[in-house]
């Protein structure tokens, strides 16, 4: 113990107040545990402050600006003027409201909040170093710890996020002005979502991707409409090229890329956004002091109770492995808290939904047809195109489709993939159906409101049963 440290004791120490940590803390509080939640930066973590929420705010705002200016087909003529500073201000207001709410909820559930960066000092103790000069540190003795420190953007060699023209996603969502031009390194979901935002705000966007397609984690037919739409917004794609460095050139910069054969290309832009993935934050925790092991990639391996290799240390969210999704983190946080309280909780979900807020949106849950086949099912699929949906046509967004994957002999739903309007909302029904052990017949026999996009879900299930009404059955 360092001289000057104050010592406190707690049942549960939660490290990191993102959607994994704050949910774990609130749940533990509900279960009458004595909880301390340590956060070094901002309540709500990356999700609320720099990720999910601000990006969705900016996507909605840029969509609105773009759509208002491109609705001549509906007889609407407008040329909206975007004040970037005000837009970002609005977004910050939304974020503040949510993070304030998290703080209030924690307090209301008896969670002790502590600012600072935690590191393990022993099996049952941690030091919390408070921010700022002379703030000191204190030691927390704990019975159980939940690690929920999240992840940080990966830096590409040659691109230092400390340099002014080099942006990570967080900085890109807080710009004071709309950049004239932008190079985005990485065509994953963050790169593609932000490519859409800036292209709609009028930025000349160039996307450089090392692999050979956009959204390489998703099936081709899901990614294709996204790429097509981005191209129609003027986004310029370069595949099979890795960003190698940048230099100042006149008012802006030049970003250099290299392909497999060493061929160098250069792209001029005002700024460069690097979004090539995220690494777990476990290197600042002194995990070894508590005996907690990590994988080579830095993840903490956990069992179906969210437990690490050390019985009383749990890990939830991005640090516990892919997929790095806020809702997965929250579920793990809940389970960890309940397990600590002695409840029979477990991570026994059948499927984790995921959404990409590109234009059009992509959302998936459960197994693809190929995955179902690999797992030994006899998959059957049903598909329904949005251009056969009345509601989709009336929104002016009728690209994409709903696809369901089921086990043919039993009819059990195994997975679903959606690309199209409100895919992120539509996937919820299918996630629920899969968790409930519902069959194609259950979904097909459930009346869906007309006219809504959700009818496409029902029709896709009917299509798998060869009796969809509004599309031709295979």
């Amino acid at each position: 113990m360092v001289v000057g440290d104050i010592s406190t004791g707690t049942d549960v120490l939660v490290i990191g107040a993102g959607p994994g940590g704050y949910v774990a803390a609130i749940r533990a509080g509900q279960l009458d545990l004595d909880v301390t939640l340590v956060e070094k930066d901002a309540y709500g973590g990356t999700c609320l402050n720099y990720g999910c929420i601000p990006s969705k705010a900016m996507i909605t705002a840029s969509d609105l600006a773009h759509e208002a200016g491109h609705a001549e087909e509906m007889g609407i003529y407008a040329d909206p003027e975007v004040e970037m500073g005000e837009m970002v201000g609005w977004k910050d207001g939304v974020v503040d409201q949510l993070t304030g709410g998290v703080e209030k909820l924690c307090k209301a559930n008896g969670v002790e909040l502590m600012e600072g960066r935690a590191e393990f000092a022993g099996e049952n103790s941690a030091r919390v170093v408070h921010g700022g000069d002379g703030q000191g540190a204190e030691t927390v003795e704990f019975e159980h710890a939940i690690v929920s420190t999240g992840s940080r953007p990966i830096e590409v060699p040659g691109f230092d996020f400390g340099d002014e023209p080099v942006l990570d996603s967080r900085q890109a969502l807080a710009l004071a002005e709309v950049p004239e031009s932008l190079v985005i390194v990485g065509a994953g979901y963050i790169g593609m979502e932000l490519a859409g935002v800036f292209a709609k705000l009028g930025t000349d966007v160039t996307v450089v991707e090392m692999l050979d397609s956009v959204l390489p984690a998703y099936e081709d037919d899901l990614a294709r409409p996204v790429k097509k739409n981005a191209e129609s917004l003027g986004v310029d794609f370069h595949f099979g090229e890795a960003a190698s460095g940048w230099e100042e050139a006149g008012d802006g910069i030049t970003v250099a890329t290299e392909d497999e054969d060493g061929e160098v290309s250069e792209f001029g832009a005002e700024k460069v956004l690097v979004a090539v993935g995220r690494d777990p934050v476990t290197d600042t925790l002194e995990l070894s002091n508590a005996g907690v092991e990590t994988t080579d990639a830095g993840f903490i391996e956990t069992d179906d109770r969210a437990r690490s290799n050390v019985e009383h240390v749990f890990a939830v969210g991005d640090v516990a492995g892919e997929p790095m999704l806020a809702h997965k983190a929250s579920k793990e946080g809940q389970v960890a808290a309940e397990v600590i309280a002695g409840e029979p909780a477990a991570l026994d979900y059948q499927a984790v939904p995921a959404a990409v807020f590109t234009d059009p949106e992509i959302a998936t849950v459960g197994l693809t047809e190929a995955e179902a086949d690999e797992e030994g099912f006899e998959p059957t699929v049903g598909q329904f195109p949005f251009n056969a949906s009345g509601r989709a046509l009336t929104t002016g967004h009728a690209e994409g489709f709903v696809r369901v994957v089921a086990d043919e002999p039993s009819g059990f739903l195994l997975g679903a993939q959606i690309v199209g309007p409100e895919a992120s909302e539509l996937i919820a029904e299918l996630g629920f159906a899969i968790e409930m052990g519902a069959t194609l017949e259950d979904v097909a026999s459930t009346i869906h409101t007309h006219p809504t996009l959700s009818e496409a879900v029902m029709e896709a299930a009917e299509n798998a049963l060869d009796h969809a009404i509004h599309t031709l059955n295979r």
Binding site: E375, S410, G411, D442
Partner: protein, 514 residues
């Protein structure tokens, strides 16, 4: 040495056959090629010959059983080779029979075919049921589900956790099985079945009177359960509820199945109970299996009718000349022992018309996107038999004379009727003639013998009023009904074909030019 004999592929595309009759018994000596069984495939009855000289060792499927091609149906001890005690196959079959007998009382669900394909380690159950299983310390993977397609419900989990029963359901099954078998050993007829049924219930408490009607106003059930109730003709409000949800009765798929079965048993019991009266009045509905030739016909008809858009063209030929010609030729044919009907004339006229209108002697290959025009003329003759419709084929009608056609048709029809016709003799037609008029009637709407694109129906040939030079006179007329596949034959083609055909049957001497 034991020779196992598998049901052979008795014809192109046949995947299964029904054992109609065993012509031998176990222990009978047989010689090579001696028929041992009659097997009905989807087209005909064929005899299965013994492959060896020897003795029949074991007959496996019973008469009336449907067996897939490739399954062992009979074994022989081959002459001159030592006799074995038990072969591997016999041991396996014996084992299967045992396990089937065991499994029967523990598997009350008829939904075997609905089981999940595999999907290792996956349990289909609602999150609430999974949580309950953890609370009750039940391994949910070992619980047999009673929900749709075997979904594990709260109730299944609770049943698995009930005191007195181990949480491992396979053990439960064993207990019930023992009980059922013990009861079954007492030879008391119907009671045995009743005891077995009871033993088969995973939980008998909630289910003491499955046949009793519940008569509620409102019942909750999953959509899949409702569908099964519809299919089985069960009123959900009458099914005893196994659970409550939100204060309302909730019915599971298993409850519906059990209720339906109980109802059927009750009906059978009623029928048996009033045996005297029942025998006189007979059953209101007799259930006849849809299989074999009947099913083949049905499937072929559906396939044809729902694949090809049918159009039927009707007309009437005035055929006094044809009647006279046949009258003149008939004694000549009789001299050669051949009964000359009108059919050969019709067939020759059809071929003459097909030559002029090749669009009707064709086939549409949809996959290849091609129309196949056939330069040969095999005419099928639709024939009513006791087993149903068959279409024997006369090949190369263009190259055969009237008498030869006549004798071939007579022979084929006879073979079809006594079901000795070979598969090949029922295949390969390019156009079909159906003589529904032989039974009576003027016009019909024949269904194409798919993939052919034309079929000519012949009505009854008899005297009818015809207007000639403004006068109504009696003439022999032949009504025709020509159906075509409108995808590749148009109505104008059909009419043109019909006109040519009629020209030939009205002026049979034109056939001399063919």
């Amino acid at each position: 040495m034991v020779r196992e004999f598998k049901l052979p592929d008795v014809g192109e595309g046949v995947s299964e056959g029904e054992i109609v009759t065993w012509l031998v018994e176990e222990g009978d000596p047989v010689s090579e090629d001696q028929p041992v069984a009659e097997v009905e495939t989807d087209k005909a009855i064929v005899e299965v010959p013994s492959p060896v000289n020897g003795t029949v060792r074991e007959i496996i499927p019973g008469e009336g059983e449907v067996v897939p091609v490739g399954d062992v149906i009979i074994t022989f001890d081959v002459e001159g080779e030592p006799v074995e005690d038990q072969t591997e196959g016999e041991a396996k079959r014996a084992g299967e029979a045992d396990s089937e007998a065991d499994a029967e009382p523990t598997a009350p669900d008829a939904g075997d075919s609905e089981e999940v394909s595999t999907g290792e380690g996956r349990v289909f159950a609602a999150p609430s049921a999974r949580r309950l299983a953890r609370e009750l310390g039940v391994d949910i993977a070992a619980v047999e589900g009673s929900g749709p397609s075997g979904r594990v419900t709260d109730r299944d989990v609770r049943a698995a956790a009930e005191p007195g029963e181990s949480s491992d359901t396979s053990d439960d099954g064993a207990d019930e099985r023992d009980e059922a078998l013990a009861a079954a050993e007492e030879p008391v007829g119907d009671d045995v079945a009743a005891t077995r049924e009871q033993g088969a219930q995973p939980t008998t408490e909630d289910f003491s009177a499955p046949a009793e009607s519940a008569d509620r106003d409102r019942t909750l059930a999953a959509p899949a359960t409702r569908r099964i109730a519809d299919e089985r003709g069960v009123d959900l409000n009458a099914v005893p509820a196994t659970e409550q949800r939100d204060g309302e009765a909730f019915v599971t798929e298993q409850a519906v199945r059990e209720y339906a079965e109980a109802q059927q048993r009750a009906q059978r019991a009623d029928a048996a109970g009033s045996a005297g009266a029942g025998a006189e009045s007979g059953e209101r509905v007799e259930r006849v299996q849809y299989k074999g030739v009947r099913k083949t016909i049905g499937e072929a008809m559906s396939n044809s009718k729902f694949t090809a858009p049918h159009v039927t063209h009707h007309d009437t030929a005035v055929v006094d000349e044809l009647v006279a010609t046949r009258e003149r030729l008939k004694p000549r044919a009789d001299e050669q022992g051949i009964r000359l009907t009108y059919m050969p004339f019709v067939m020759k006229a059809v071929v003459a018309a097909l030559k002029r209108h090749p669009k009707l002697n064709a086939e549409l290959d949809e996959e290849a996107g091609e129309i196949l025009r056939k330069n040969y003329y095999n005419v099928g003759v639709a024939t009513a038999t006791d087993a149903g419709l068959m279409v024997p084929v006369v090949e190369n009608v263009d190259g055969k004379g009237l008498l030869q056609i006549s004798s071939e048709v007579n022979e084929l029809v006879q073979k079809a009727r006594d079901r000795s016709i070979a598969r090949e003799e029922l295949q390969g037609s390019t156009f079909t003639v159906t003589n529904f008029g032989a039974i009576g009637g003027e016009y019909a709407t024949p269904i194409l013998n798919h993939p052919e694109v034309g079929i000519l129906g012949i009505g009854e040939l008899k005297q009818r009023p015809v207007v000639e030079d403004g006068e109504v006179v009696a003439k022999h007329t032949l009504p025709i009904s020509l159906t075509i596949d409108h995808r590749i034959v148009d109505g104008a083609d059909a009419a043109a074909f019909a006109n040519t055909f009629m020209e030939y049957v009205e002026n049979p001497e034109l056939l001399l030019l063919e």
